[in-house]
């Protein structure tokens, strides 16, 4: 792997009282990579991601995102990343256009840039006619595409997606992944957590977390070969079979 490193994590740990949510994990993510973060519920995926986004302080360990330290330079990191959470991160009672304008202004984009980018997004998603609809009233699949667009409007180095496609049908998920590919081909790094193992096949590399630890980290093809399996689904079943925390 000779890509430029965008995310670098060493011995990262997060404890909540006596509970170790993330236990001493280390990995690197290269520029433009689609990096899949897999694990059962409670494996520590979201906690790890929150530390990388500057939402949560690590208990110990170090990391850099886009060249900034995650403990001391969290606010700097925030200028260079986008984030979309499993809960929709848009304001339900604002229209599509108002949401895009709010987030792009907060990221310091100029009015002219906001205008041209908004037009681009509407054309790309084919949602010109929904521009003045309240986000509450648009279907969930559209909301997810819109949230992704809002999170990447300011052209961040890395976009973090926390279970971005929860609760939608396979066709809509497939369309969502087209957006991810497009962003990645433009040089954006995509860090995505997911439950859907077919989605893991789309990633350049996959990290499987079990009980807060890194259990496997490689390309989907290499993982399948190592475990002698046909699909990532089967690989995941083997790797995660002795997870203690799964519910």
């Amino acid at each position: 792997m000779n890509r430029e490193t965008v995310i670098s994590v060493r011995n990262l740990t997060k404890k909540f009282g006596g509970f170790t949510a993330v236990d001493n994990i280390s990995f690197d993510v290269g520029k433009g990579e689609i990096f899949g973060f897999l694990g059962a519920n409670g494996a520590g995926k979201t906690t790890a991601m929150r530390m990388l986004c500057g939402l949560s302080y690590p208990t110990s360990g170090t990391g850099t995102v886009a060249g900034f330290d995650i403990t001391r330079k969290a606010e700097e990191i925030k200028r260079h990343i986008g984030y979309m959470s499993q809960k929709f991160s848009l304001y339900d009672q604002l229209t599509v256009r108002e949401n895009l304008r709010l987030f792009s202004t907060v990221y310091g984009m100029s009015d002219a840039a906001i205008k041209s980018k908004t037009g681009e997004i509407f054309a790309q998603l084919g949602m010109e006619n929904m521009a003045d609809t309240l986000v509450r009233d648009i279907p969930v699949g559209w909301k997810q595409k819109l949230a992704f667009s809002a999170a990447t409007m300011h052209d961040p180095d890395v976009v973090f997606l926390d279970e971005p496609t929860g609760g939608v049908d396979p066709v809509t998920r497939r369309k969502f992944w087209e957006l991810i590919y497009r962003a990645s081909s433009g040089g954006m790094t995509v860090f995505v957590t997911t439950h859907y193992l077919d989605e893991a096949e789309y990633c350049n590399r996959v990290l499987i977390m079990v009980d807060g630890c890194v259990r496997a980290l490689d390309t989907p093809a290499a993982l399948k070969e190592r475990f002698g399996m046909q699909t990532m689904d089967e690989v995941f079943r083997i790797v995660a079979k002795d997870a203690g925390r799964a519910d």
Partner: protein, 375 residues
């Protein structure tokens, strides 16, 4: 540096726009902001009325003169007073109070009438039953003013010099002793306590529960800018609430502030900041709506009961009076009553304004510092 300030202002602008849009589109908030002041101002001054009727009086007449008999007779015909007993001794009079039959005891000393003629300035004793404080205190005042009236008429008839002052009960700041005049300025304080305290807390915890706050925390938005966008809308609402309150006070009750309206607005803005700063601080520390509501209630209870709203601070025990210096509404209530009833100005009330401004700064600073983007 300058560019950054400009960017923060632009961010603040868009955040305020967002707050206003969300508030307008909320099915409940615009109504509560309008309906609550109207309801409270129309209803409460009529209901929360401490005017006392049918005060039971026990008279101990040790004088038994023409004057003393007239004092008793006038009281008996008063529409507020009723003579329930005329015992011979003070001890018997006390037992009427102990049985709960009487609210007030009037004792006319022996030789009262004669001393009055001699110019010896005798004293008439008025004692109030403390069990029902309001009725006792106000009843005692009624009884005293009835006796005073009788005395004045008698002195005039006897051709004596009627003293211009000193013997009558005069309520200086509220001549009709209309309880409404006392309540209306204070009710606006209650409205700001509730509206500007609860709404920001509910708003912020609502963002926590819906997850949108996470979307904001992961952006480079400055925490001071963000907190300001949560505080500013509420001083606008505070001004709105006071405006509605003053309008109803004027149109329905005919009570206009004797002082300058600008002084009222200044105090209302400072106090709105105090309350919304408190609301945001509580929301910062609460994970759920329920939690923030319970904590807010605890504060509001203390603010209402210790702010001098219903119980005059001067009639609290001394230690409690010291505590009220730490209760911000105390200053706002003093300001409102002084401006409304006495026509006081900012210069007269500089201490209260300073205290209110200090609390506003303190609470807003706490709000900014307890807001954490990274946990």
């Amino acid at each position: 540096m300058k560019k950054e300030t400009l960017m923060n202002l632009r961010t603040l602008g868009i955040l305020l726009r967002k707050e206003i849009l969300l508030m307008r589109r909320n099915p409940f908030i615009p109504r509560i902001i309008l309906a609550m002041p109207v309801m409270v101002m129309l209803l409460l001054p009529l209901v929360a009325n401490l005017d006392v009727k049918d005060v039971c009086v026990t008279v101990v007449d040790n004088d038994v003169s023409e004057l003393s008999r007239r004092i008793v007779a006038d009281m008996a015909t008063s529409e507020y007073l009723r003579i329930v007993a005329t015992p011979f001794t003070h001890g018997d009079a006390m037992s009427t109070i102990e049985r709960g039959d009487a609210d007030v005891i009037i004792t006319i000393p022996a030789g009262y009438s004669a001393d009055m003629v001699n110019g010896a300035a005798p004293r008439l004793d008025v004692e109030a039953n403390g069990v029902n404080v309001t009725k006792g205190m106000i009843g005692a005042r009624y009884a005293a003013s009835s006796a005073t009236g009788t005395l004045r008429r008698w002195m005039a008839e006897e051709g004596m010099q009627v003293p211009a002052d000193g013997i009558s009960v005069i309520n200086l700041y509220n001549p009709t002793l209309d309880f409404r005049n006392y309540m209306i300025p204070a009710l606006m304080v209650v409205l700001i306590i509730i509206i500007c305290g609860f709404l920001p807390a509910l708003n912020l915890v609502g963002e926590k529960e819906s997850g949108t706050i996470e979307a904001m925390n992961v952006t480079p938005v400055g925490k001071f800018t963000f907190v300001l966008s949560k505080l500013i809308p509420y001083w606008v609402i505070g001004v709105l609430v006071v405006t509605i309150g003053m309008f109803i006070g004027r149109v329905v009750y005919g009570l206009a502030p004797a002082g300058n309206i600008a002084c009222i607005y200044l105090a209302a803005i400072l106090f709105s900041l105090v309350m919304s700063g408190l609301g945001v601080s509580i929301a910062n520390k609460s994970a759920t709506l329920l939690q923030s509501i319970f904590v807010m209630f605890a504060f509001i209870m203390i603010f209402q009961l210790m702010g001098g709203l219903f119980t005059p601070i001067s009639s609290m025990p001394q230690w409690a009076q010291y505590l009220t210096y730490a209760v911000p509404p105390r200053y706002f209530i003093e300001i409102m009553r002084a401006i409304y009833l006495k026509g006081a100005s900012v210069a007269d009330l500089w201490m209260q304004y300073t205290a209110l401004g200090g609390f506003a700064m303190l609470f807003c600073t706490v709000a900014a510092f307890t807001y954490r983007k990274q946990g």
